[in-house]
Amino acid sequence: MSERPAGTGGLTVFPSDPARIPGFVQGSIALRGPAAPEGITPDPGRPLSAESLMEIDRAIANYPDRRSALLPALWVAQREQGFVGTKPMEEIAGKIGVSPAFVAGVVSFYTMYHTKPVGNHLIQVCTTLSCYLRGADRMVEHLRKKLGVEVGGTTADGKFTLITVECLGSCGTAPMLQLNDDYHENLDPIEKVDALLASLK
């Protein structure tokens, strides 16, 4: 208890300077979403296609309040371009009736929207407890070596992006990974991962 600030009567106070928090590791506060560091140099993307804009209009018609169509609209943009750039964000903001900053704030909250291009094959390995118990860390190591990228990186040819994610709700079929939209489960032994990768080339 020696590290606790004195005189708080048993209550822990949260010091304004995080460096003063016992055991606090600088930079360890999780920022939600991938946009935090990337936001400094945003990728503009392209204007949305007429087809996508129409699809967004159809989504808006589903809801009593057009703002509800924001997440669906972002999905449309990401499906068209592989990520949500600032240009589509502005277009969507106009359609939904909110500011571009509001849209960016929503994008950065949700982990599945990318604000920069990712590889054609986005490999997301679940490493939460149940998958960890069944060898998820070994699978990450294997993929890292096999693809020659660090976690979070994209191969030089732009084909593969490797990331680790929190629980994907596939704990009974661990270890597993999500490849773009699809789940690949029961990936033990590791040769199954090799076979999956081979099928993609």
């Binding site: 208890m1 020696s2 590290e3 606790r4 209550l11 822990t12 949260f14 995080p18 928090i21 016992p22 055991g23 606090f24 590791v25 360890s28 506060i29 999780a30 939600r32 589903n62 809801y63 009593p64 309040d65 703002r67 509800s68 169509a69 924001l70 997440l71 669906p72 972002l74 999905w75 939904i96 909110v98 704030g105 929503v106 909250f109 949700y110 982990t111 599945m112 929207y113 490493t127 939460t128 407890l129 149940s130 960890y132 118990l133 069944r134 060898g135 929190e166 629980c167 994907l168 709700g169 596939s170 704990c171 009974g172 079929t173 661990a174 999500q178 939209d181 699809d182 789940y183």
Partner: protein
């Protein structure tokens, strides 16, 4: 084992198709329900004792009864299909393997609370669930089960699927509504409760997928029949998600109150390797306090029995850990999840969840300091009950249980500056 209800169609060839579902008696409960006054369905569900399967175990019929009778505003049913609690994968199975059972449950329940619109908030990663449900809705619409004048009656119910985009907190009902309204998923202060002011400020009921999948059976066979399954105040069938070090992990159906070790040994096939011993079980998803092997004997898996053991049934995500597991590292994995998923709205949670994770991480790495366990328990104490939603409690309670029940392992890590367990595959 009793007759399978929730999983009765799972594994049947063509189980996702309307034809197979109808052939096996599907949509008969909806037919029956549409000819009953909505109040009588709600009353029957109340009488059945059905409790919410999303985690909190709140009585479903009681929740429905909070919907105001005379509000001029539209009324909504929101289905929580944002299954994200680590260790839980039952709703995904229901949606992927028996989408029409889900739809029938949604439609009857919407009728019971007089809602004309149902929003199904599906976890963003569950693309297959979305596609299967989407196909099922189109099939059901073509047959007159969805839309206007359902089966020739005056009933009108529209179902809208809405995809999330990766945020655990959106499984919290008020965060889910914020997200559905197109915002960041920040939980709202309660009261007002959703029944009074929910989606778009209108009367709203939010129920879990599995909860609503029970409703067609209650309508078909009655509350008295339903009450005979399970235990007192914990009635009905339940889907248990078994994961971790088992021979046969997966989703299993059993009455509420089934014995924990029966689940683990008979359904899950026991520990995956003969030379291992049971070390601990997390009974209800990552948010639930852990049980030591000794505590796992004679545990009825229902809401009240687990609450009496100072843990919870939660979403029935049963995670089994054998004796090769370092409990410090296991806790590190759990807390990493919570640190990542805190929405950041309340200080005790935003700072606390990252803070306890970073301390456990350093203890695990062999850089722990004397007093770390006390600091951890102290921070946890300052997270519990001090935030808008229960996320902070969900992070702090398991952390306290790991430290209190496996204190020796934490102390050994700090003293020896390393993990003493031999590395096992």
């Amino acid at each position: 084992m009793l007759e399978k209800l929730l999983l009765r169609n799972v594994g049947v060839p063509g189980s996702t198709s309307l034809a197979v579902y109808e052939q096996r008696g599907g949509y008969q409960s909806l037919r029956k329900a549409l000819n009953l006054p909505p109040e009588s369905i709600a009353e029957e569900v109340k009488k059945s004792g059905l409790r919410g399967r999303g985690g909190a175990g709140f009585p479903t019929g009681l929740k429905w009864s909070f919907m105001p009778k005379d509000s001029p505003k539209p009324r909504y049913l929101v289905v929580n299909a944002d299954e994200s609690e680590p260790g839980t994968f039952k709703d995904r199975l229901l949606m992927e393997a028996d989408p029409h059972l889900c739809l029938e449950g949604f439609l009857i329940s919407a009728h019971a609370i007089r809602a004309k619109k149902v929003f199904v908030y599906i976890r963003g990663e569950f693309v297959k669930s979305y596609r299967v449900l989407h196909g099922a809705i189109e099939e059901a619409r073509a047959k007159g089960y969805v839309g206007k004048r359902i089966l020739g009656t005056d009933a009108e119910i529209e179902i809208i699927l809405h995809r999330g985009a990766g945020a655990y907190i959106c499984g919290e009902e008020t965060a889910l509504m914020e997200s559905l309204e197109g915002k960041r998923g920040y939980p709202r202060l309660k009261p007002p409760f959703p029944a009074v002011s929910g989606l778009y400020g209108c009367p709203t009921t939010i129920n879990n997928v599995e909860t609503l999948a029970n409703v067609p059976f209650i309508v078909e066979r009655g509350a008295d029949w339903y009450l005979k399954i399970g235990r007192e105040k914990n009635s009905g069938p339940k889907l248990y998600c078994l994961s971790g070090h088992l021979k046969k992990p997966g989703v299993y159906e059993a009455p509420l109150g089934v014995d924990l070790m029966t689940l683990v040994n008979e359904m899950g096939g026991g520990l995956w390797r003969g030379d291992r011993k049971l070390k601990a079980i997390i009974p209800g998803g990552a948010s639930s306090p852990v049980l030591t092997a000794d505590e796992c004997r004679d545990v009825p898996m229902d809401f009240d029995s687990l609450a009496a053991r100072k843990t919870m049934l939660g979403s029935a995500g049963v995670m089994v850990l054998d004796d090769s597991v370092c409990m410090v590292r296991a806790l590190e994995r759990i807390l990493r999840f919570f640190a990542h998923e805190s929405c950041g709205q309340c200080t005790p949670c935003r700072v606390g969840s990252s803070w306890i994770h970073s301390i456990v991480k350093r203890v695990e790495a062999g850089a722990g300091q004397a007093g770390d366990c006390e600091t951890l328990l102290d921070v946890c104490d300052n997270m519990i009950g001090k935030t808008i939603c229960v996320f902070a409690d969900a992070a702090a309670l398991p952390a306290m249980s790991f430290i209190n029940k496996f204190r020796g392992e934490f102390d050994d890590h700090i003293r020896q500056r390393r993990c003493a367990l031999p590395e096992k595959a």
